[in-house]
Amino acid sequence: MTNDAGNFFFGSSEIVQRLKENSIEPFFERFLFKKNFAFNNKNSLEYSSYAFNSALRRLTPNKLKYILVIPTLRCDLSCTYCQVSRASIKAKSFDWCDETVDRFIDFVNEYADTELKIEFQGGEPTLRLDLIKKIVDEVSKIRPSSTFIICTNLQNYSKELKNILHNKNVQISTSLDGSKKLHTQNRTKKMTSTEKFFTNLREVIKDIGHHRVSALPTISDFDQIMDVIKTYHSMGLNEVFLRPVNYQGFARKKHKESKNDVEKWIKAYCKAIDYIIEHNETEDQKIIETNLAIHLRRIFHPGQNGYVDLRSPNPVAQDYLVINYDGSFYPTDEARMLTRIGLIDLRIGSIKDGMDLEKINSLNQAQDNKNDKACKNCALQPFCGVDIIDKISRYQTVDYPTEKTYFCQFHMAVFTKIFDLFSKGDIRFLKTASLHLGGTYALSPALAGFNCD
């Protein structure tokens, strides 16, 4: 049982029956008070806590905190699943112009929060290190506590990039698909390029430390998921974000199977989580899986509403914005991909003309799982999210029944797995959950007492 505040407990169906009949025993009544499911009146800590967390779970930041910038759409690789349908390296007019940079700085000055994060995406953003450097320098002047992430394929680790990394607020994020063979097959096409990438990855980790380097896999062959985890472990990367191919861009043609393979992915993912739980029990170097961490935080940390892929309401263009190579605004990275392939125009303004408020408002009406027929009756609603861009992408309409979507089925599966392991009191899982939420691999009294009988 859950409530809007995200309090939860496990009980038998007999308990539900007794609740319906209003014939509960004193012991169970005390339990309900303890879990904030019952209160004497509104002037009580139970009600205060319930009201506060219910509101907090729906609170989203009202200032721009995260801007995803695409200084160029050009790229020196051609990955089979490229979600943005990148432009070739020599293509013209796929880059930010000087005017866009100046307008961007003014835009940041006017609208961004003090704690701002800017992620450079592409294409391959390091093809325009001059733009990156200018943005990092100028934004740091007006928002000194800003942090920056450069998402690069690390085919080149140039002197210029090293110079930018002298700034400790700049981090590197890269793609590592698994073993060298797999990485070559999906991304580089040539083993020599893969070797170069691995060398560069090791070097950048050595230069700026693990804490400033993250790597992400894109998993197209689900049977290889264990190899991915093992590769990350062997590279000393202790966090891995297991993500399947995103059904966008080139992937729509070259990985057609990714549209409706949710069951296969869930199976592979759950197996991977079991493997990680087992690994963490036996190995000293622990593994954190980002998806699992996100879902656990959604359960235990009300107010963790900064992750736009799993939150509700999920207002667009409020705290998060994508600015494309041509200066146009998009609500998410996926939205620019959808627009690029001509499926639907999800452009919501531009750095030159400002926000398209009418379009933003109409998108936001559907960005709330409170209004969704299926979600209303779902116990996972307070923890889960809403993503109409994904819905449009896969099913071409926002009216597609939510319970049939990839989004619903995947997140339901992850939450169900987590709650299942909690209800069983699986000791190994409890320790891995501690690790994901608090950083320590150990049993904690904070993750106990969920069963009412």
Binding site: G438, S444, A446
Partner: protein, 368 residues
């Protein structure tokens, strides 16, 4: 607020208490003077002026006496006494207007006395003169024993000085739902420091020496929530409650997720704490496990935590970032073994009255 050991040489006309602010430290004066000359302003507040200005009151003091520009003093001519109300370089400027308290905590660092210093007009004049954005403490005794006057003072001060913020330490025994509207208008400028020592009512009550205190406290917390209060929930680590730390964390996460943060504080070895000290002091340097368990729980449940008075070398490394450098002047002591320690700049240090013979067993750089 401390008594100043100075000789007052008062000129005619000064008989009622006055507020003095020392100003213009360098203006027209190269040598450090041994005389403060002050000038009267119409509202009875007097602003100091070094080496110049019309004399109304002059104060003689030893040249060794260390004073700063911007200090605010309260002067009581009739008793030939002066108190320092505010010192710019201090981070713990605190007003104590009563030493009475309705609790009698077993570790109280400032045991209650039947004494009051209820100079409300004077405090108002002095608070008005604080520098911009000062974070000013109000403690006791129990300040809420004078609730009406305190609220009135705060209301008056905040209305003309909305930049000021107050840190008020209270046992939270005296709030009622009648206070909600008043509190709502004041709370933006207040951080309430409130003690919670156990989740077991009997143990909390025993520690604070008052029956029913725990229940009162929880009632007050509802009132504070409804008025939008910012709360620092404080737990002093004791042998009596070390087993309850994780319970406290879970209790906060379950029942008071809206507080600003939880402060776990190591015992200050003075006042009542010195009575049977070894029955109260929990030496976490010897066994960090129960503290660690609570800190992990706090992270898992998303409860923001700070450690006060925990010297760096006594805290396991991953938790050291929770340990704040002490802000109080009387907690900056370091020991002989601290010389050459690289952690010193981040370390809480020790209380002025720390006694190593009955203190931490495992101290020093080898434990870093």
């Amino acid at each position: 607020m401390i008594d100043l050991n100075i000789n007052l040489d008062l000129l005619e006309g000064a008989s009622s208490p006055i507020v003095v602010k020392l100003a213009d430290l360098t203006k027209g004066c190269k040598k450090k003077p041994d005389m403060v000359k002050v000038r009267c302003s119409p509202n009875r507040s007097i602003f100091g002026n070094w080496c110049s200005g019309e004399e109304e009151v002059s104060i003689g003091f030893s040249p060794k006496f260390n004073i700063e520009e911007g200090e605010i003093w309260l002067i009581f001519p009739a008793e030939n006494k002066a108190k320092r109300f505010f010192r710019p370089s201090s981070n713990s400027n605190t007003l104590l207007f009563t030493e009475r308290c309705d609790q009698k905590c077993i570790m109280c660092s400032q045991p209650p006395k039947n004494k009051d210093y209820l100079y409300w007009d004077l405090y108002f004049s002095a608070l008005k003169e604080l520098p911009n954005k000062t974070f000013f403490g109000i403690s006791g005794g129990e300040p809420l024993l004078e609730k009406e006057q305190l609220f009135e003072l705060l209301r008056k001060v905040i209305s003309i000085r909305p930049d000021l913020k107050f840190h008020i330490l209270t046992n939270a025994q005296h709030f009622s739902s009648d206070d909600i509207s008043e509190l709502t208008s004041l709370n933006k400028n207040i951080l309430w420091g409130i003690p919670l020592y156990s989740t077991n009512d009997a143990i909390h009550d025993k520690i604070v020496g008052k029956k029913g205190a725990f229940e009162n406290l929880l009632g007050s917390m509802t009132v504070l929530y409804q008025s939008g209060a910012q709360i620092e929930l404080r737990t002093v680590l004791l042998q009596q409650n070390v087993g309850y730390l994780s319970h406290i964390v879970n209790f906060i996460a379950d029942k008071m997720p809206w507080i600003s943060y939880w402060a776990l504080m190591q015992l200050e070895p003075i006042g009542f704490a010195r009575i049977e000290f070894l029955e109260k002091f929990y030496d976490h340097s010897q066994n960090f496990e129960l503290v660690k368990l609570a800190l992990d729980s706090a992270k898992i449940r998303g409860v923001t935590t700070k450690l006060y008075n925990f010297p760096s070398c006594t805290v396991n490394k991953p938790y050291r970032e929770l340990s704040n450098k002490s802000i109080s002047d009387w907690k900056n002591k370091f020991l002989d073994i601290c010389s050459g320690c690289k952690e010193k700049q981040h370390c809480s240090g020790f209380f002025e009255w720390y006694n190593h013979t009955i203190g931490y067993q495992n101290l020093g750089t080898k434990y870093l």
